[in-house]
Symmetry: C2
Subunit: 236 residues, 2 copies
């Protein structure tokens, strides 16, 4: 069943945005009485369409209880070129990321035109929303842009930074840590890595350096890799 | 150091293809006596460039011993649209795939023009070669197109097929299997899944049905996910 995220609830109906209504009527060619899934406020509902002429009403039939993921995984990444950002947002959403935090690092400076930041965030939100619907999530990951690593000070959870030094603890080791945690924050560096200064600062504010193995991966592959193995580690 | 794959060895020099020579001279703007890494016959060499006018000679300085991966991971996948194929080939190469086998399934039929198959294979080889160089592999994964699942009969190794039925053994369970294996062959289905008939046939010829968890992933995400967790499982 097709899933949509609603932004508003009005008594026993949901209000969908225009793109979703277009998707229902024109892309999916749905008919009167067809059923869809709607997520609102992290809850899932089965709804029935009441289509009269061009007017589509989304009527709540029942709420469905779904298990919510109890582990939050937040990734902190360099701002990258548009195509790589899009890929990361889509794939990380499929793989269950809770929050994506982008920032500039010493070795990558992508200039974000402040006038355009809203339209960028809109674009990223759209990609994340679509991927959330397609992968049947109950939430849409948050996407933030921070001014720098200093904004991470005091962040709570199992805090890790992917480092390239030798003889580091492996991520496998870190994930099997005996400390209990409900949030993992992982910093991924740019191509060429984080600078020593950046790593030292992150270590100072509580991010443990870890290695994720001997493979040399492109920056945009690393978040997909990390989320895959965290999913795997949590698997029964 | 930049890595290139050579196709020919001539006494103490390697012959690189024209694209690589162009990359050395024009993209990287390397100079006389600069060093590069060359892989030939799955072995790694440090080489020095002897550049005179437009002529580039690649002279072997020394062989470097690198640990070779002892586990072969082969993925068997539906033929997909070009952009998804390219993404899979690039990312699977980075993540260490040994062989990619593409074929048509009941629910996806991508018509390959037989006249164009050579140019397709050339294109895929190029993507795999570039990703192998970038991720510092000692080999380039093989890419094959099979006519159907029947060609998999008799294939040796730990043979798995990603299935969507409930109550299946998890991939985690399968990877921790007590049988020893040096090759894993995994079949990934198309969007909409393999048909019951296909799964039954694969089960019959020795592919065990497994589940890889509750996430709903796009077809092109599945191979990246599988290779990530296999890398992770093999990690110390």
């Amino acid at each position: 069943m097709q899933r949509y995220f609603a932004k508003e609830k009005n008594n026993n109906t949901f209000i969908l945005n225009d793109n979703d209504l277009y998707h229902i009527s024109t892309v999916m060619r749905m008919k009167n009485n067809d059923l869809i899934e709607v997520v609102y406020d992290n809850k899932l509902y089965i709804c029935q369409l009441n289509i009269e002429n061009k007017n589509i009403e989304v009527i709540i039939k029942e709420e469905v209880k779904e298990k919510v993921n109890s582990l939050n995984v937040n990734l902190i990444l360099p701002l990258l070129k548009e195509q790589k950002m899009d890929l990361i947002i889509q794939k990380a959403t499929e793989l269950g990321v809770s929050k994506l935090i982008f920032l500039n690092t010493e070795r990558t400076v992508v200039k974000l035109d402040l006038k355009k930041i809203d339209s960028k965030l809109d674009r990223w939100y759209k990609i994340a929303k679509e991927a959330s619907e397609q992968s049947k999530r109950l939430d849409i990951p948050l996407i933030e842009v921070l001014s720098g690593f200093k904004d991470l000070e005091g962040i709570k959870g199992l805090n890790l930074v992917c480092d390239t030094k030798e003889n580091l603890k492996s991520i496998k080791n870190a994930l099997k840590s005996s400390e209990s945690y409900d949030t993992i924050n992982i910093v991924v560096g740019p191509e060429g890595g984080l600078s020593n200064k950046e790593i030292e600062y992150l270590n100072k504010i509580g991010f443990k350096s870890i290695t994720f193995g001997s493979r040399i991966l492109r920056v945009e592959t690393v978040p997909i890799y990390l989320l895959s193995i965290i999913n795997y580690e949590m698997m029964e």
